[in-house]
């Protein structure tokens, strides 16, 4: 029993990071139908900038805040400079643009920072909490709590605020949204800022557990993307569920079957789900316009 609990803790910790990345994917996808493969780099930047600022002598909360704000600003810049000018481009071009942005940010990070692995102290110390014979690091609770809070915040934003509904309207039909007076450019800017900020937050929360380096982004992007697709792209509920599911599948496979093929298990599940539910677990049906 304590064994199962330990596997669940492991899965939830990792799953929460994936869920945060998946939520970031969702926001941008909702506003622009773009899957932003540079999402993982936001996580990397969150961690690296915080480490850098902290190492330069700033207190950790301030360093984290700087990292989140700076990354959000970078997200807006990517939108303005790379995504908006490419409006209407086919999916494959958009994939290449965002992967290009990802490669670019990695290249910049290795120049500005370095190629070493870094970390900073956990927020509430390193003494593990014992629950039912299993242990969990206090930092894991920060990450899991962060993922849940961001989800609730987004849910309230999208359903309870005018601005949030404007974002949803834009995602459903951009032209119609413009016609009813929604400033779709502002919606895009906001979405990129939000998404990059959430990515950076994931990096800030996760770095004491996962450690960070200039090249960790692509791994987060792949898992987060997989999580978002598993849940159904565009649905925050799906992103949350998908992220946690992948984390749990990996941990349980590692625990009970084979650690070598735990990632394979995650991708097999994704393939199976997509065979039977081509829109993911919570995805909306979409029709192609001729």
């Amino acid at each position: 029993m304590s064994e199962l609990l330990q596997f669940l803790f492991s899965g939830l910790t990792v799953g929460a990071v994936y869920a945060l990345v998946a939520l970031g994917f969702t926001i941008i996808y909702n506003a622009s139908d773009v899957v932003n493969f540079a999402q993982g780099e936001f996580v990397m930047l969150g961690g690296m900038i915080t480490w850098f600022a902290h190492a330069a002598g700033l207190p950790l909360p301030l360093a984290a805040l700087i990292a989140i704000v700076a990354t959000a600003a970078l997200g807006v810049a990517i939108n303005k400079l790379a995504i908006e000018p490419a409006r209407g481009a086919p999916v494959v071009s958009l994939i290449i643009i965002t992967i290009g942005a990802s490669v670019f940010l990695q290249g910049a990070a290795q120049l500005v920072f370095d190629k070493q692995i870094h970390s900073f102290p956990a927020f509430s110390g390193d003494t593990p909490l014992r629950i039912g014979g299993a242990t969990i690091q206090p930092q894991s609770l920060w990450v899991i709590g962060g993922a849940l809070l961001v989800f609730v915040g987004l849910w309230l934003f999208f359903t309870r605020t005018l601005l949030g509904r404007a974002v949803l309207a834009t995602s459903n039909n951009r032209l119609a949204a413009q016609l009813v007076g929604i400033n779709t450019n502002f919606v895009m800017t906001l979405s990129f800022a939000l998404s990059a900020g959430i990515g950076a937050l994931a990096g800030v929360l996760a770095t004491p557990i996962t450690l960070t380096a200039y090249n960790v982004g692509i791994g987060f992007a792949l898992k987060g993307f997989a999580g978002a697709m598993l849940g159904g792209m565009g649905n925050p509920k799906g992103a949350l569920a998908g992220g946690f599911l992948i984390g749990l599948i990996e941990a349980l496979t590692a625990g009970y079957l084979s650690s070598t093929y735990k990632e394979a298990a995650a991708f097999v599940v994704i393939l199976l789900v997509l065979f039977f539910m081509p829109q993911g677990l919570f995805g909306r049906k979409s029709t192609e316009r001729v």
Binding site: V35, A82, V92, I96, F275
Partner: protein, 319 residues
């Protein structure tokens, strides 16, 4: 000037390039670069059929390259096949696998198709990495000599290793391009291109959408597989990198950057992206920065790809 068909013009340009550029090579190293461009060009020609003609995305085609490559490493030692037959075996396995995997996943669209193909590629590379007893794991495995160079030598044609692979890969690329161009003009090719416009519209005019998509997927898998085999045979060594996610991305980027709509454009893209890292070694620290920038800029400003955009500029000036 007599009017050439687009097909023969493309093949002529390619053949001329392959034959003439060696006269300008300052050292043997350039044969290696040329051979790499041709191998990448071959893989990318497959992407033209899948993405350029049929409008489908794959982020997992390196998986097929991995199968082709490891077929050349494993079939000769375990099955006693001649390396040239191992290439064929790899292509058959890739084709069959593409058929089996393609049937369910090609129902998916856009990003869902992207993640499904991505998953497939990752599974292949995971098997190559983890089944150490068979594949040698991440350290890689030796690949037997093709033996064709020795044969040519007996016939009186003595080429260096670099020269041999340059011309051999060039020849395979020409054949690959010829097949792709023929396909373009065939009825199936027209059906494929109809898909690219709109699947629903293609369906309503009586095209068997699922079958045509599957065809494109299988053919492109075979291209990737043969390209993987050529890399393995040329290097006489192979590692699971060949099946890695970044290699899949590289293939798609080469095709789209150069112009996925045409064979020549895609091969041009393969050339540019193969040369770029070689040219950037002087500023090695900036390599990733520049590569990322090039990917973004070309896709934003030259949406059809480099070659079509350049040609349009040239034509515009001529008039």
């Amino acid at each position: 000037m007599p009017k050439l068909t687009a097909k023969s013009a493309t093949l002529l340009v390619l053949a001329a390039l392959i034959a003439v550029t060696p006269f300008f090579f300052p050292s043997g190293y350039y044969y290696r670069i040329g051979a790499l461009i041709f191998v990448n060009g071959l893989a990318v020609t497959g992407i033209v059929i899948l993405t350029g003609y049929a409008g489908q995305i794959s982020l997992g085609h390196a998986g097929f390259a991995g199968i082709g490559g490891y077929a050349c490493a494993l079939a000769p030692t375990h099955l006693g096949l001649h390396p040239s037959l191992a290439v064929v075996l790899g292509a058959v396995i890739s084709g069959v696998l593409a058929y089996l995997v393609g049937r369910p996943i090609l129902r998916l669209k856009g990003y869902y198709l992207a993640v499904a193909t991505l998953g497939f590629g990752i599974l292949v590379s995971m098997v190559l990495n983890n089944e150490r007893r068979l594949t040698g794991g991440p350290d890689g495995i030796a690949v037997p000599e093709l033996g064709l160079r020795g044969l040519l030598k007996d016939w009186g044609l003595d080429l260096t290793n670099g020269e041999f692979w340059y011309f051999f890969c060039g020849l395979v690329l020409l054949i690959g391009a010829w097949i792709a161009l023929n396909l373009h003009q065939s009825p199936s090719g027209r059906a494929l291109r109809a898909l690219h416009g709109s699947e629903i519209a293609a369906g309503t005019v009586g095209i068997d959408v699922a079958r045509v998509k599957l065809q494109a997927f299988v053919i492109s898998a075979v291209y990737a597989s043969v390209a993987g085999s050529l890399v393995a045979l040329q290097n006489k060594f192979i590692t699971p990198d060949v099946a890695g996610f970044m290699h899949s991305i590289e293939m798609v980027t080469m095709a789209v950057l150069g112009g996925a709509g045409s064979v020549l454009g895609a091969i041009f893209g393969a050339g540019i992206l193969t040369l770029l890292p070689q040219a950037l070694t002087v500023f090695a620290e900036y390599e990733q920065l520049v590569l990322g920038l090039v990917m973004m800029l070309v896709m934003i400003f030259l949406r059809e790809g480099l070659l079509p955009s350049i040609l349009r500029k040239l034509r515009g000036r001529g008039e």
